[in-house]
Chain length 212, copies 2
DNA sequence: CTCGTTATGCACCGATGAGTGCACTTTAGC
DNA sequence: GCTAAAGTGCACTCATCGGTGCATAACGAG
């Protein structure tokens, strides 16, 4: 890193982060198998040896990339769920939360993560646990908790388990989005995103709402 | 194929089918990239040259496999949807249709098809069109038509477009199933399958039912 | 200044896998 | 039975790619 390091890479420690970023870019673009370690090294502006010094081998690097991505996704998803409060226009809040969740779901990084997950799930089944433990499960729990509080406040009548209602709200969103985004290939315009969220919220409220 | 061909392979034409079957087995087990043409030839009990005579190259073979699988999936899914008639216990019918659709969705072949689709969608975007044209869209249309007839008979009150209601019923099923089956990794027991279908039908009827 | 750590560049190995060439055998149709 | 098409087996090419070795350069700490 010669003279005054004009761009990034200030110290030793952020080599690691540069590698993770570059690796994700290449993995996302080419898929796990097609992505080459040379390409990753080039993208991260790092010698190939440095990859192996930091991460051992390709598979491990991939795992770490998945973990890092899960953490990023968690933060964004939780922020969306936290918008659900006990007072305010329920339909509007649900729609807005849904829209944010939908945006997270359609984010390029999330789409790529799902694609990579699907393609390697048979050879590395533990990947799913990484993602679940770090993101999916926590988001679901958070959503279930919010819904439960709304039920307690008399604003929802979840038939039984709040976890199932949360799962179904998520399903209404993601099921539609997966189809409409062509598995993450097509960018869904904001307006359509809002429409999907609105329809999910409407159906959810028709099923579980107490006011109408 | 010496003497009296004790097992399969009676004529010339079913070499093609043998290859498609074998190729799918290997693709499903190993994924597109890891699957080797030698392994496919061995699985299909066919010389490697025969693969290339019939299908030209690996990518084209893959496409044909995907198309064949889509056709199979379509048949099973349509059979499930056709159980939805205008008379009879609505909740029971919806649950049963949902259960059959869920079974199709969780079928090993369908799970593998989805995995392969996800992993190669970036390099072969036309794969999705193959599957949509041959299966997904048709199933959705058929379901929407059935729901529309139920609405016309006064047994459902779909807010607006029947296609959206159909999409949402599908989403309630597949969204839950994708999570619970660990992306097709875990085999979901019959009882749980029925429970998921029942919950989807219940929520759908709470939202769109006219009887309650 | 010096020493140990970390990064770099480059050549290299070994394995794997798609696709081909060729000589040979089997089968279907006339 | 004969011929042309289709299938077989095997060796082979060519390219790619994960991972390593080595000699060298930059850097941080004492």
């Amino acid at each position: 890193m010669g003279a005054a390091r004009p761009d990034g890479a200030r110290g030793r420690i952020d080599k690691r982060q540069a590698i993770l970023d570059g690796a994700f870019t290449i993995f996302a673009r080419d898929g796990y198998h097609t992505a080459g370690m040379d390409a990753i090294a080039a993208e991260a502006k790092v010698a190939k040896h440095t990859l192996y010094n930091h991460f051992g081998d390709k598979e491990n690097l991939f795992r770490e990339v998945v973990a890092a991505l899960s953490d990023q996704a968690l933060a964004r998803n939780l922020a969306a769920v936290e918008q659900l409060r006990e007072q305010g226009d329920l339909a509007a809040m649900l729609t807005e939360t849904g829209r944010c969740l939908a945006e997270c779901y359609c984010d390029e990084r999330s789409s790529a993560l799902r694609r990579l997950l699907h393609s390697e799930i048979t050879t590395m089944p533990d990947l799913l646990d990484i993602v679940r433990d770090r993101a999916s499960d926590r988001v679901n729990d958070a959503l279930a908790a919010r819904l439960a509080r709304l039920a307690l406040a008399g604003r929802l009548d979840l038939g039984g388990d709040p976890a199932i209602a949360a799962e179904q709200f998520g399903a209404l969103l993601t099921g539609s989005l997966e189809a409409r985004s062509r598995l993450g290939t097509r960018k869904i315009p904001q307006a359509e995103l809002r429409a999907v969220a609105g329809q999910a919220a409407a159906t959810f409220l028709r099923a579980f709402g107490t006011e109408s």
